[in-house]
Amino acid sequence: MTFLILIVAITAVVFLSLFLLRNRWTNTWKNRAHVVMAYPAFLILLLMAYIPMSGLILAFKNFNYSKGIFASPWVEPIYKNFTFLLASKGDFLTMTKNTFMYYFIFTILGTFLNIVLAIAIDQFLFKRMAKTMQTIMIIPVFVSYAAVQFIVFAFLSSDMGIINTTLGTNTKFYTTAPLWPYILTTVKIWNSVGYGSVLYMSVLAGIDTGLYEAAQIDGAGKWKQIWHITLPELVPMITVMLLLSVGGIMRSDTGLFYQVTRDSGILYSTTQVIDSYVLHAILKNPNYGFTGATTFFQSIVGLLMILGANGLVRKLAPENALF
């Protein structure tokens, strides 16, 4: 109900001001059809992305559900919730460390494998077969992690898992934390590399074949062609993809860490990331102060990272910068 009223109110304000200011905003008024067309998506972004950003003030509030977020009292002193973070060293540091660690593993290894796979498929001359293979490689990305966890279980279960029965071992994967960075990385690669390579392949397909022919005439071998023609052509796409991913440095594939590990406490030391912690907290009646402070930290660090990275790219290769 509140939601409906909000939608009507915002819509009324937007279009009323457009109408009242039509003499001042001549261009906008002339293009009012475009305003109308852009409006629904605008409204959804406002409701689903922009207004929720205000939820970050939770970090400074003593949240009381019945009062709502804005009427809840501020904490005294204002940074109190953050002192909890630092006081809980263990938890907070572990999940922050894990978040960063997995980001770097997944991004570096993932990008590398995406490119290798894209080039490999591109170089493979049995085109029909390459296409069939690619079809299969992309499939995993369409399997939700809620389902993937059962596949992983079928491989890793200590008494029924394929790995243990095949090797005749009895490794207790689900209680051995140090193994999980490898397991999660494998699952992530399985899930996303086939799909990730599609974007790079599209760039490869767009490279002027004349370049390769010229190189061949000049006597350049396959590796030389890849190094001097293919890779440089991929750089803009790589930069853009990396830049985009930097903003998500504090965010993770929640399903991977929450579902595949079965949110198992024994594994937290190597598997808990900020996002899976927050999801766990929401489901188990959160300590709003602590969780809010964590979320705030997560969002701000993400923002700073992308601003920094974009600034850096703008200095080095301005044409590849995002903004």
């Binding site: 475009h34 852009a38 998506a41 959804i44 207004i51 079809t135 809620a146 974007l199 979320t295 993400g302």
Partner: protein, 307 residues
């Protein structure tokens, strides 16, 4: 529109030397790595329960059985309800999302529309900065008063920056400007130009984005887990999540003796039944995907390459 067959694009006339076979071997290995786990799901769904419990999961089970599938049907009503919910949010969400996003993409790609600069920045910011899950949770439930509401499964995924960018790039690069201008000269208004000229020409991009959206909706479990409480609103994925919870509960509760557990038999979703549920949940995507792959790769490609 420039016709580039991207799948088969550069037909280089080269000899298929031994290096090609080595490359093919490695590609085949990776293909197996990707495909076999999925095959295992289907095999396990039709493996005898006792066989799994005693010998473990296997690609070559000693005994086949349809018991797993049968016990899935025991969820009966809940399964049908969940299927209905998932199909509903997938269809409604995808169509609605495509509609509002392509209108937005069209509007911001119009030359001479000064607001489009502001709107482009407005579109980009959510990709760079977000309030995170907890903020969304508190705002949705406490400020909007939305709880146990299917809107919470549809709206958050309806508009995504990346998809709008793909659609906009497609309009700019592949829908001829002259055509839209000609329509205008012939007296077609903005709406008419969009619906009768631009939208039909956007089909490849719409198919690509639409397929990605549909799988995102189909696979959505997180918002469902957080917001959906009543059984008649639970999507399929939540059913999967809950099955796991049920198994854990049963195995953890030591007060259920082993014999009693065995006697319950098919009533508890055990290994093969769980896999059968996975089949039921991921099956439709596996069936539909090959038909969409063409559009999916082409649209993604055409939309994402600059210039």
């Amino acid at each position: 529109m420039a016709k580039v067959d991207l799948d088969m694009a550069p037909s280089r006339r080269e000899k298929k030397g031994p290096a090609q076979y080595v490359l093919g071997f490695f590609l085949l290995l990776y293909t197996l790595f990707c495909g076999l786990p999925i095959v295992l799901v289907f095999i396990s769904a039709f493996t005898d329960e006792l066989c799994i419990v005693q010998n473990g999961y296997s690609f070559f089970p000693q005994k086949w059985s349809t018991d797993g599938m049968h016990s899935v049907l025991k969820y009966g009503k809940q399964l049908m309800t969940s299927y209905g919910i998932t199909i509903l949010i997938t269809v409604v969400g995808t169509l609605f999302g495509l509609f509002v996003m392509s209108m937005f993409a069209y509007a911001i790609s119009r030359p001479g529309f000064r607001l489009s600069r502001f709107l482009s920045v407005y579109l980009l910011i959510p990709m760079l900065f977000s309030g995170g899950q907890l903020s969304a949770y508190v705002i949705f439930t406490s400020l909007y008063g939305l709880k146990d509401n299917l809107l919470l499964l549809i709206l958050p995924l309806a508009v995504s920056t990346m998809n709008v960018i793909i659609l906009r790039t497609y309009i700019v690069n592949s829908v001829p400007m002259e055509l839209m201008e000609a329509a205008k000269i012939d007296g077609a208004g903005d709406y008419r130009t969009f619906f009768q000229i631009t939208l039909p020409l956007m089909k490849p991009a719409l198919a690509a984005v639409g397929f990605m959206m549909a799988t995102a909706y189909w696979n959505e479990w997180q918002n469902a887990l957080i917001y959906i409480a009543s059984d008649n609103k639970k999507p399929l994925q939540l059913l999967l999540v809950n099955i796991q919870k049920n198994i854990e509960f049963l195995l953890n509760s030591n007060n259920v003796p082993a014999a009693a557990r065995a006697a319950m038999g098919g009533a508890i979703p055990q290994q093969s039944a769980t896999m059968a549920t996975v089949v039921v949940v991921i099956g439709p995507i596996m069936v539909v995907y090959p038909f969409f792959q063409k559009y999916f790769i082409k649209g993604l490609t055409v939309g994402s390459v600059k210039g």
